[in-house]
């Protein structure tokens, strides 16, 4: 790590990202002007500060083009999210939405990791510009700023592939639509942008104001879950709720797969058909259970049970965290199931968090394989995915991530309890933050918020969000002695 040019390249990269962030922040002046909420100059100042820091870094290190050291790209990803989050706190602090740095940091981290946990009890009272900023952090965070920037990478010259694997350290290296990462990223971005536009239009067609439509699309397509209303999406019309459920469903699907579907490349779908099937099966089974439970156990009428059940199930599985009904009051097994769905998460390569469907599938098939191996010790029966054997290296990869994910979850519960949160809420918050679902159990679940958490508990939650978004390993590796010393 003594190579100065790598550090400079890292700072240069941060500069570029910060300029992008500052630019997006600048867009928040539009609602500030339109709704005249008196935050115009605050936003302009924040944006200018971010832009100038970013520009300064970029200018100072403009000649350092390439990060050569693999370790540096791990470091870069973590530092990147921390920096983004740090600058994302500015609008909250500058407009006086909150006075506490902890709360602002929590909210910003929840945004850029597209988690959706909030410390604001009454979001409707926030200035419009801040509301848009929250949605926007989720929108670009959910997609992965790294991917956003990678679309522009030909000029940045970072070692693209290692960066890509650092962020999406999943097993899914087979799923590139094209050999060139850049093309993949551009296609993904195209899908993401068009989905956003389509859903904004659809929501407006269903009678929603443009303001709500933009915000809700941003937060739901990114599987984030912030809302501009205090009751999340509960007060929308039924059509609008189903539309958002559709957005969530798509946000849990691998974007490469979506691209293939949209462009009618049916043949290439077979590379991911197992994950897709499994994802849809989980959606269907879980929704069916929740709907039946709501109808027969909690006594909702069929139409309400269907709506609440499907929307909330999708919200949990894709780790969006939009709340359509106060699920904390539902039957305990339903709540439990929702938590487990959050841990399962959507497909790899989507904006959702959690373990990802594909990993769960591999874990399951691996366990089944071990069982079979015991019965038929000499059989050769590799774990297969989409009809192809999965290499042992990838299986171990998945197993390690599962273990680390589980350990982190327990670590989170433990730290939250030590910071004075009761057991149920600690479990809920730990799952909510680590998977990116957002709301947890008890007072911090349902329509509630994290405002009553102690400062230390909020910091723990922020850390969990970061770990969850970067899939643990990328962050944990920084604590390895060998990372810093050869």
């Amino acid at each position: 790590m003594r190579n100065a040019s790598d550090w400079k390249a890292l700072l240069r990269f941060l500069g570029v990202i910060l300029m992008a962030e500052g630019g997006l922040m600048g867009l928040c002046v539009v609602p500030a002007i339109h709704f005249a909420d008196g935050t115009l100059w605050h936003i302009v100042a924040c944006s200018a500060a971010t832009l100038s820091v970013g520009g300064g870094l970029y200018y100072a290190f403009r000649n350092e083009l390439e990060i050569k050291d693999r370790r540096m790209s791990y470091l870069l990803v973590t530092v990147l999210w921390l920096t983004l989050s740090a600058f994302a706190t500015l609008p909250f602090l500058a407009t006086g939405s909150t006075r506490s740095l902890t709360a602002a940091w929590f909210e910003a981290m929840s945004g850029v990791t597209s988690c959706g946990a909030t410390v604001f009890a009454d979001v409707a009272s926030l200035p419009a510009s801040v509301l848009l900023w929250r949605s926007m952090t989720q929108w670009f965070g959910g997609f992965g700023v790294v991917l956003l920037v990678l679309a522009l990478t030909p000029r940045l010259g970072i070692n693209k592939y290692s960066l890509y694997t650092a962020e999406a350290s999943g097993a899914d290296n087979t799923g590139k639509t094209s050999v060139r990462t850049t093309v993949t990223v551009r296609r993904t971005l195209a899908v993401y942008l068009s989905l956003t536009v389509v859903f904004i239009i659809l929501l407006m067609l269903s009678g929603m104001q443009m303001w709500d439509a933009v915000n809700l699309t941003f937060t739901n397509i990114s599987s984030g879950g912030f809302s501009v209303n205090s009751d999340s999406i509960a007060s929308l019309t039924h059509t609008q709720q189903y539309l958002l459920a559709g957005a969530m469903l798509l946000s849990g699907v691998n974007f490469t797969l979506l691209f293939m579907l949209v462009t009618l490349r049916w043949r290439q779908i077979r590379h991911k058909v197992d994950q897709l099937t499994f994802y849809l099966i989980i959606c269907a089974l879980a929704s069916a259970f929740v709907v039946l439970a709501l109808h027969y156990h909690s006594g909702y009428c069929w139409s309400d049970a269907l709506r609440l059940g499907t929307v909330q199930t999708l919200s949990a599985l894709t780790t969006t965290g939009s709340v359509v009904g106060d699920y904390t009051q539902w039957w305990t097994p339903v709540v439990f199931l929702l938590l487990m769905l959050g841990i399962c998460g959507g497909m790899a390569g989507s904006t959702s968090g959690g373990l990802k469907v594909m990993r769960v599938l591999i874990l399951w098939r691996n366990a089944r394989g071990i069982l079979r191996k015991r019965l038929h010790p000499n059989a050769v029966d590799p774990v297969r995915l989409n009809g192809r054997p999965v290499s042992g290296h990838i299986i171990n990869n998945v197993l390690v991530i599962f273990m680390v994910f589980g350990a982190t979850l327990m670590f989170g519960v433990m730290m939250l309890m030590l910071s004075g949160v009761n057991a149920t809420e600690a479990i809920g918050a730990s799952v909510g933050c680590l998977t990116g679902y957002g709301p947890g159990l008890g007072a911090s679940g349902g329509f509630g918020c994290y405002a009553h958490f102690t400062a230390s508990a909020l910091w723990v939650c922020s850390l969990l969000m970061l770990l969850g978004r970067l899939e643990c390993m990328t962050v944990i590796i920084l604590f390895l002695h060998r990372f810093w010393h050869r």
């Binding site: 370790r71 305990t332 709540v335 487990m340 071990i370 019965l375 010790p377 057991a423 390895l480």
Partner: protein
């Protein structure tokens, strides 16, 4: 009629395990249970089971024997319902120690002894039964089996399995005997001492008073603490110690990890209790007792301190999952597995930095093959799935999420009662649970005791295809 079918099966199964084992158990259980069961056992003892698949055998023994073991509770009327009796019996045979008897002093003493004996048999069975089965498998399968069973490869005590078995059971009996004598010497009643000793050595945890261990002298508790710690040690290692092979002790890294975890947990809990305002001497004594009981998954408890700090709950929960050494009578994931996982993880992280480095996981200076690491991972995954699934079913029958998790984990690890569950505000009293929850917990105990695979193997379709 059902009784007549189950009891002889149980009896004949005992006889297959080896004569001493069977005779001893038969004799003691007959004395304890009374004339009725004795008649049944005597009459049907000639029914021998034939050679069968080992998985089938293992699982059926563990499913049917406890059902037979439930009879004494029903016959003597100690427990009214079949579910309760089965729960008590499963809890005994799996050395869990969760009890639905509200007041152990009110039931016949024979039943108390029977309860303790079921645990002792369970604890012994875990070690011996599997080894006995190994005799029937060919050599390759044997290695596979033993490796999976106890986490990773371990040295056998003796090249001949029958010798290993007899050594193990002798050391087990010896420890029990010593503990009984010590407890009597410490001023406890004979029956009490025997029951407690059987519960301790098998890491079961049935207690003979409704108040847990509160009424006993400090000396008794100190003796129990020591023996609970010992019962978490690999039995083979204990034998080596007994025969003064100290080098084995030094070479077994797992033992040192075990001791370190124990001392660290007990020390930190003592500090936590002390800081929470309890007297320091009491804090230390209580922590040692409580942690020994938890890590060995024994499940004894005494009066918890007035102030129960959070750290104690957290440490307790972690220890419930980890358990003690592989090859001991305790439950849980076993430290050896966790050590393997930890070492693998460390290698993995290094490989992220240097993709071409080749590493291997070494325990006791021996390389653990990648295949075993994968098996351990698979095991841990299933273990967690069982806890989650069990907790889900428990919520269906009305538990809160946090209690459901603690109960599922405690029973999966064969711990049984723990002040942890109390500290969450739920009731420690398993008797109050609905029947469905009791059956769920029984399934978890069994899965935990059989380390999942044997149980899953017989319900898997491919097993039955193989037989056909």
């Amino acid at each position: 009629m059902a009784a007549a079918m189950v009891a002889p099966l149980a009896a004949s199964l005992y006889y297959r395990d080896g004569a001493q084992y069977a005779l001893l158990l038969a004799a003691v259980s007959m004395a304890a249970v009374g004339l009725l069961l004795r008649n049944l056992v005597g009459r049907h003892a000639t029914y021998e089971l034939h050679e069968r698949e080992s998985f089938w055998l293992t699982s059926m023994v563990w499913i049917l024997v406890p059902l037979g073991g439930a009879l004494p509770y029903l016959f003597t009327g100690s427990l009214g319902s079949f579910t309760d009796a089965a729960f008590e019996s499963y809890s005994g045979f799996t050395t869990t120690g969760a009890s639905v008897i509200p007041d152990p002093t009110a039931i016949p003493q024979g039943i108390l002894l029977w309860r303790a004996i079921t645990q002792w048999m369970g604890g012994l069975g875990l070690i011996l039964f599997v080894v006995a089965i190994l005799k029937r498998l060919n050599r390759g399968a044997l290695q596979l089996y033993s490796a999976e069973f106890s986490g990773t490869q371990q040295r056998k005590l003796h090249p001949h399995i029958s010798t290993s078995v007899s050594r193990m059971w002798r050391i087990y009996a010896l420890i029990t005997g010593v503990l009984i004598v010590l407890l009597i010497a410490a001023g406890n009643g004979v029956l009490d001492s025997v029951c407690l000793a059987l519960s301790t050595v098998s890491t079961g945890g049935f207690m003979t008073t409704p108040l847990g261990m509160s009424g006993y002298s400090h000396l008794t508790l100190a003796i129990l603490t020591l023996f609970m710690f010992l019962s978490g040690v690999n039995v083979a290692l204990l034998y080596n110690l007994f025969t003064l092979r100290w080098r084995q002790l030094r070479a077994t890294h797992e033992f040192w990890v075990y001791a370190a975890v124990f001392l660290l947990a007990a020390g930190s809990c003592a500090i936590a209790f002390g800081m929470a305002g309890n007297p320091w001497d009491y804090s230390l004594a209580y922590s040692l007792f409580h942690i020994a009981s938890t890590i060995s998954t024994c499940g004894f408890y005494t009066d918890p301190p007035a102030a129960w700090p959070l750290w104690a709950s957290v440490a307790t929960f972690l220890l419930i999952l980890s358990g003690a050494m592989a090859g001991s009578t305790g439950g849980g994931l076993k430290l050896r597995r966790l050590m393997t996982l930890f070492l693998y993880l460390r290698n993995y992280l290094t490989r992220m930095l240097h993709p071409h480095v080749v590493f291997s996981v070494k325990i006791d200076h021996k390389v653990v093959a990648g295949e075993y690491v994968n098996k351990i991972f698979g095991f841990v995954f299933l273990y967690i799935c069982f806890i989650i699934g069990g907790a889900f079913v428990l919520t269906l029958s009305g538990s809160g999420i946090a209690d459901a998790f603690c109960m599922a984990a405690a029973n999966m690890s064969n711990l049984g009662p723990s002040p942890l569950i109390n500290s969450l505000g739920a009731s420690l009293d398993y008797a109050l649970l609905p029947d469905a929850a009791k059956w769920t917990l029984m399934a978890l105990m069994l899965a935990g005791r059989l380390e999942i695979f044997a149980l899953l193997a017989i319900v898997s379709p491919s097993y039955w295809r193989l037989r056909r």
